[in-house]
């Protein structure tokens, strides 16, 4: 069956609550700040939000339903999406269909997490059953160690070097220097990158994101409602998601995008060369390379050459992670899954200020998440267009 488009559905009101390295506040507080900013921004009253989609790792023991009472909301459509870096794309897909069908009119999508001094260790040790049985007892290196194995294998197979990964990190830091919300804005040189201490070989310090507290949000509604509220908006041309793809690969070398990209481009009616900027999920540079390949920007195994051939900066060719990505902004838990999408909405509604990519009309946002055992399971991608 031919997929139906997302006609008439728009995204608006991009919100980023300034991040902090550590927070004494709860995830509830961060979600509350994001929704507060969203209502301020849209001029809506809280009870006019009749749909809510939440992604957060640190909300326990609550889930989205408890949050409705905590926040005093009474939505007629509610979703809780525990998909880490794929949260925003998946939230968008579900919310768009709800709005399109009239099950809800205004869906607030929020990704937020707090970061207490000991949150990260606790999240890791009980992240999943497989993590408990088969990952954490093996050195407790967390995602650094899991991605080290994936990175090592990718380097062995493609010939990628640390410099290739470094080009991505250095370019993102340059972008972050134009984004006020980035926690890390100090200039990063290739020498800094290469000379950083090893964390879990071949992963070194600047390959890793810094866990932090923060919140990101946007609103999904119908185009006419956005116009009524006077909100700038972007259109959704296509969206894909896939979970646990290529399970027979002995180690992760590709993600679900490789399986669904034809669907993505067919539905959008464009080809990769029409994309003006790319926001990838950048929890480790090797995954960025996989996204560049698997989404069709270059052939499999050629991302190292691709990143050598492009500047990856907002003012250059192939702008990538225009606000600096999680590598420079910080990883606010599930908020990290929203970072690229919220920044893309800003780019396509002329709200991105110093990080603006000139004349950007089409943006691609890609998500990836959930190392359950040895690989990331969730993947998604969204093509957005200026209205």
């Amino acid at each position: 069956m031919k997929r139906r488009g997302y006609d008439g559905v728009v995204l608006c009101a991009p919100v980023s609550v300034p991040y902090r390295r550590y927070s004494v506040n709860s995830a509830h507080w961060w979600i509350g700040r994001a929704l507060h900013a969203l209502t301020q921004r849209t001029g809506m009253k809280p009870n006019e939000l009749d749909g809510l989609s939440v992604s957060s790792f640190t909300l326990a023991p609550d889930t989205a339903i408890g949050l409705t009472q905590h926040l005093g909301l009474s939505p007629r459509w509610l979703d809780h999406i525990p998909l880490g870096g794929a949260s925003a794309g998946v939230a968008l897909r579900r919310a768009a269909r709800a709005v399109q069908s009239g099950d809800a009119d205004f869906v607030a999508c929020v990704g937020a997490d707090t970061n207490h001094v000991d949150s990260f260790r606790k999240t890791l040790s009980s992240f999943s059953r497989f993590a408990q049985d088969a990952v954490y007892p093996y050195g407790s290196g967390g995602p650094n160690a899991s991605f080290a194995l994936i990175t090592r294998h990718y380097m062995n197979r493609t010939g990628a070097t640390r410099e290739d990964f470094g080009r991505i990190c250095v370019a993102q830091r340059a972008n972050a220097q134009r984004y006020d919300g980035a926690l890390m804005q100090k200039t990063l040189t290739m020498d800094d990158y290469l000379g950083a201490r090893a964390i879990s070989d071949p992963i070194h310090l600047f390959d890793c994101v810094m866990p932090c507290a923060g919140a990101e949000a946007f609103l999904v509604c119908r185009e006419e409602d956005a116009r009524t509220l006077g909100l700038p908006f972007v259109r959704v041309l296509s969206a894909i998601e896939r979970h646990n793809a290529f399970q027979d690969d002995p180690i992760q070398y590709r993600g679900g995008w490789a399986q669904d990209r034809n669907d993505l481009w067919d539905m959008a009616g464009i080809q990769p060369d029409a994309v003006d900027f790319l926001q990838t999920y950048d929890d480790y540079p090797v995954i960025i390379m996989m996204q560049i390949e698997d989404l069709g920007f270059c052939a499999k195994g050629e991302a190292p050459a691709f990143v050598r051939a492009h500047t990856l900066t907002t003012d250059g060719d192939f702008p990538h992670n225009t606000s600096g990505g999680q590598l420079s902004v910080g990883q606010a838990g599930a908020g990290g899954g929203y970072l690229g999408l919220v920044e893309a909405i800003r780019q396509l509604t002329d709200e991105s200020g110093p990080t603006t990519v000139p004349n950007a009309r089409i943006g691609l946002v890609s998500g990836f998440g959930m190392i359950n055992y040895d690989r990331g399971l969730a993947s998604c991608a969204v093509v957005l267009a200026r209205a």
Partner: protein
Amino acid sequence: MTDPLIRPRRKDPLRKTREPLLPQGVRSRTGHGLTAAAAEGRFALQVCADCGFTLYPPRDVCPRCLSARLPFQDVPPEGVLLAETTIRTSTDVYFRERTPWRIGTVVLDCGPSFVAHLHGDVIEGTRVRMTLRLDKSGMAVAIAMPERSTAHQEDDVQLRELTCDPKFRRVLITDGRNATGQAMARAMAAAGASIIFIGIADPWKPFPGEATLRDVPNAEIVSLDLTDTQSVADVAGEIAHRIDILVNTTEHPRAGGIMHRHGLTIAHEEMDIRYFGLLRLAQHFGPTMRARGADGVNAAAAFVNLLSVHALINWPLYGAFSAAEAACLSAAQALRAELRDGGVKVLNMFAGPLDTEWFQSVPPPKLSPATLATATVDALRKGIEDCYVGDIAQDIKGRLDVQPKALERELGA
């Protein structure tokens, strides 16, 4: 090649003893199928009974056919190390003080990818042999070993965290009067134990084999009587802080069942020597051993019980003896849980009748004390916790696994 272990110098009494920490000891219930295999030194994974798919990590549903019939069974442990990493920072306190620590992705010939600990001699891209071992928290972990053994491979730091190798460790053998204790002393000396304390009750009384026992390298006789609480307390006060491996060789096998013995004298003796003897050792040596579970190269490692396999199911010809052994097994399980906080293992060696005077009328096969001693050293080197030594013990274990009720009737026939 592994750097050979260096004999530890005498401990500086002013230095703080490193507190034992444990790696995460939480597993899913199904995941304990690996614990069961590791406890016996086997490499077993789940194999779907419906479609034959071999899977890992442990699951409750087959990811090929959704079957729920997923028994653990022994599978070929060979594979290829596809990728490796050296962890240099860890969020976990146990690993934090043990970095750098190598792990890697092993693609097993039987199918699954297994993220495992790596022996120092394995090389990325080459073939490895996986073994399941018990870590300091008593839970199963896999370590990829070189396909062919390498020089000093048992001395590898990551492997030694998972084993109780007697090399450079100090051993207490609780009873050197019997053949088992004497064979154990020789086996420990051969395995490189640095001191072997040998308990003898009333050492002024001569006993067979005394001269050769005194000639065992690094042996030191101590006066120890497990039926005397004060004697156990005195010895523990002297040497408990130096005991890394305790082997309870005190035995008291007596024929006879339950009904036809007159009075309780023999039963009292059996319980006093074996069950209360174990309790006295546990109370006086256990706390010190538990506190020394991470005390360097010669950290406390194991508390070894030599049990009759009839602790698992009663043999009516030796009915009261079997019951006393069963009491010891039950106490050993409790002790295992209590020593786990220190990363100290309880090793139970299950044996059939020994080839000694107290099993004189029992027909062969019977186990020689030397075989039991060698098997104990081997089990310590593997770090396993349940070992069935010899034909009888393995026969009983096999029949118990299949049909315990049939075994009960057959032993009583």
